[in-house]
C-alpha cells in the first residue's frame, strides 16, 4: 500500500477534480467523503491530509511514500526528496508587489525568504527581508516594507489591499514528490500511479 501526503484546502479540491478527469473515481470518491478526518484509506492508497508546507516533511521522513505540494513550497524548503512530475493544477506565480513602481525595493516582507533572497541576489540588489507567516500584504499597505514577495493567482487580494504586481516571477504549480527510499523500494507501485496520472483524460 502506498501512503500519499496531500495538502488540505484549495489544493485538495483541485486534486479531486484532477482525479475525476483521469477517471480515478475510487480515489476521488474517497477524498470527497472526507469531513474532518486526517487519514483516508482506500484498498490501495492511504492519504494523509496535512498542511501544505508539511507535505515535504512527511515525504522526506518516509511517513509518506509520495506527496503533492506546490513548487513554491519545494523551492523554499530544499528537502531531500525526488521531485517526480508536474501536475496540472495549483497554477500561480511568484510576484513582487508594491503600492507603486519604485527603482529599488530595499525592504521586502515575505513568507518566502529563500526565493526573495535568491531573486535580489540575481538582480544584484541588497535587500532587507522581513519574514511574516501570513497577511503579508499588510506590510506594504502600512509601509512597514517597500514591497512584498508573495504567490499570486488572480491578483484580487493584492488589489483589495491597494497593491500592484510590479515584477512577475517564477511560475508555480503542483508537483508529485517521492521519498528517496520508497522511490526504489516501491518503484512498481509509484510508476503505476505516475502512469495513471499521465493517462489522457476522459
Amino acid at each position: 500500500m502506498l501512503t500519499i501526503a496531500l495538502s488540505k484546502g484549495r489544493q485538495l479540491k483541485d486534486f479531486i477534480d484532477f482525479l475525476k478527469s483521469k477517471e480515478l473515481h475510487h480515489l476521488s470518491d474517497a477524498l470527497e467523503s472526507v469531513s474532518r478526518e486526517l487519514v483516508v484509506e482506500t484498498d490501495s492508497i492511504r492519504f494523509l491530509l496535512v498542511k501544505g508546507e508539511d507535505v515535504p516533511v512527511y515525504v522526506e521522513e518516509g511517513v509518506a511514500d509520495l506527496g503533492i505540494t506546490g513548487s513554491d513550497v519545494l523551492y523554499e524548503q530544499k528537502r531531500h526528496i525526488n521531485n517526480l512530475m508536474d501536475l496540472p493544477f495549483g497554477y500561480c506565480h511568484f510576484a513582487l508587489a508594491a503600492k507603486q513602481p519604485q527603482e529599488t525595493y530595499p525592504v521586502v516582507a515575505t513568507k518566502y525568504v529563500q526565493f526573495t533572497q535568491d531573486y535580489f541576489d540575481s538582480i544584484m540588489q541588497p535587500v532587507k527581508i522581513i519574514y511574516l507567516k501570513g497577511s503579508v500584504e499588510l506590510a506594504a499597505t502600512i509601509d512597514m516594507a517597500d514591497a512584498i514577495m508573495d504567490i499570486v493567482q488572480t491578483g484580487t487580494t493584492l488589489r483589495e489591499n491597494g497593491l500592484e504586481e510590479q515584477v512577475q516571477l517564477n511560475k508555480i504549480n503542483a508537483r508529485l514528490i517521492a521519498n528517496k527510499h520508497a522511490f526504489f523500494s516501491k518503484n512498481n507501485e509509484i510508476q503505476s500511479i505516475i502512469n495513471q496520472f499521465k493517462k489522457a483524460g476522459a
Binding site: 525526488n82 521531485n83 508536474d86 522511490f183 523500494s185
Partner: protein
C-alpha cells in the same frame, strides 16, 4: 530513572563496539583510531574540505579551523594524504558528528585496487551486520560515479541547477535545461528497472561501468537482499568517490544503515561503514 535498564543498554553498546573490532582483527584488519577533533589549515583547504564545511560543526582557534569528525572515510582519506599507513586494510569504530546529528560508525577500508578484495571486504561487512547485529537489509541501491561524467559536460556537472535537478530526479526540469534528446533525459525517461539495460544498449561509453554495476549487484542478490536497484543519477558527496557506490536500507529507517564505495585518494581504495543511531544499537 531505571538505572538497571540503562546500565544494561550502555554495556550492550560498548560490547557491540568491542565485538566489531575484535571480529575484524580476526579477519586480518588492522585497527585504526583517530582523534575526533580535526584540524584544518585555512591556506591548505582542498575543494573537498570546503564542501564538507556546510555539514560540520566548526570553530576557529588562532590560525586553524577546528571541527568534529563528520565521516570516518573522509578522516582516513585526509590522514593517508599526510601519513603513510603500513597496512592494506583497517577497521575502525567511533562517533561522527555531521551537522545536527550524532552517529556511531563501524567501518572498514581496504587500500587495494583489486575488485575481488574490495568485494570480499563488502561481503565481510554485510555478513557482520546481518548475523552479529541481526539487521535485515531490505534494499540495496548501487550507483557508479563515472556514469554522469560520461553523459554530461564538465560545465553541466558543475552547474548547481543541473546538480539539484539530478539529485531530485526532476525529469521535467532536466528536459527544460538539457532538451528531450539529451542522453541523461533519455535514460531517466525509462522505467527504473529498465534503465541499466537501456544504458548498456544505447550508450557504448557506459558499458564498462554498467557491467561493474551488474557484477556487484549479482553479489548483493546472493546476500539475501530482496530489492537491489541501480541508481544511475547519483552524484558523489566527495570528488574522490569515482566508482561503485552502495547504500543499504532496513525497513525501520529512512536513512541508509550502510554506505560506502570505491574511491581514489591518494590510491585506489574501498570503504564501507555501518551508520548506527540509538534507534538501532
Amino acid at each position: 530513572m531505571l538505572f538497571e535498564q540503562n546500565n544494561h543498554h550502555i554495556l550492550d553498546k560498548k560490547h557491540k563496539e568491542w565485538e566489531f573490532l575484535h571480529h575484524f582483527t580476526h579477519l586480518g584488519y588492522d585497527l585504526l583510531d583517530l582523534s575526533i577533533l580535526e584540524e584544518f589549515k585555512w591556506d591548505r583547504l582542498s575543494p573537498d574540505d570546503l564542501k564538507t564545511m556546510t555539514n560540520r560543526y566548526t570553530w576557529q582557534s588562532n590560525d586553524s579551523l577546528l571541527s568534529l569528525r563528520s565521516d570516518w572515510t573522509d578522516s582516513i582519506v585526509r590522514y593517508r594524504k599526510k601519513y603513510k599507513l603500513q597496512t592494506s586494510k583497517v577497521a575502525y569504530s567511533g562517533p561522527v558528528y555531521p551537522y545536527n546529528q550524532e552517529k556511531m560508525q563501524f567501518g572498514v577500508e581496504i587500500f587495494s585496487e583489486s575488485i575481488s578484495k574490495q568485494q570480499d571486504s563488502m561481503k565481510e561487512l554485510l555478513d557482520y551486520i546481518q548475523t552479529s547485529l541481526n539487521q535485515k537489509l531490505s534494499v540495496a541501491v548501487i550507483s557508479h560515479y563515472s556514469l554522469l561524467k560520461k553523459l554530461l559536460t564538465k560545465d553541466d556537472l558543475e552547474d548547481p541547477d543541473i546538480k539539484h535537478l539530478l539529485r531530485e530526479r526532476n525529469l521535467d526540469g532536466l528536459i527544460h535545461q538539457l532538451g528531450t534528446e539529451h542522453p541523461v533525459v533519455q535514460l531517466m525517461s525509462q522505467p527504473v528497472p529498465d534503465q541499466l539495460h537501456f544504458a548498456k544498449a544505447k550508450f557504448p561509453d557506459l558499458k564498462e561501468s554498467v557491467n561493474e554495476i551488474i557484477e556487484w549487484s549479482a553479489i548483493l542478490e546472493k546476500k539475501n537482499i530482496p530489492t537491489v536497484y541501480s541508481d544511475l543519477f547519483s552524484l558523489p558527496a566527495q570528488s574522490y568517490y569515482k566508482g561503485i557506490f552502495l547504500q543499504f536500507y532496513t525497513d525501520q529507517l529512512v536513512e541508509p544503515i550502510v554506505t560506502g564505495g570505491q574511491y581514489s585518494s591518494p590510491t585506489k581504495a574501498f570503504g564501507m561503514a555501518i551508520n548506527l543511531t540509538d534507534l538501532t544499537y
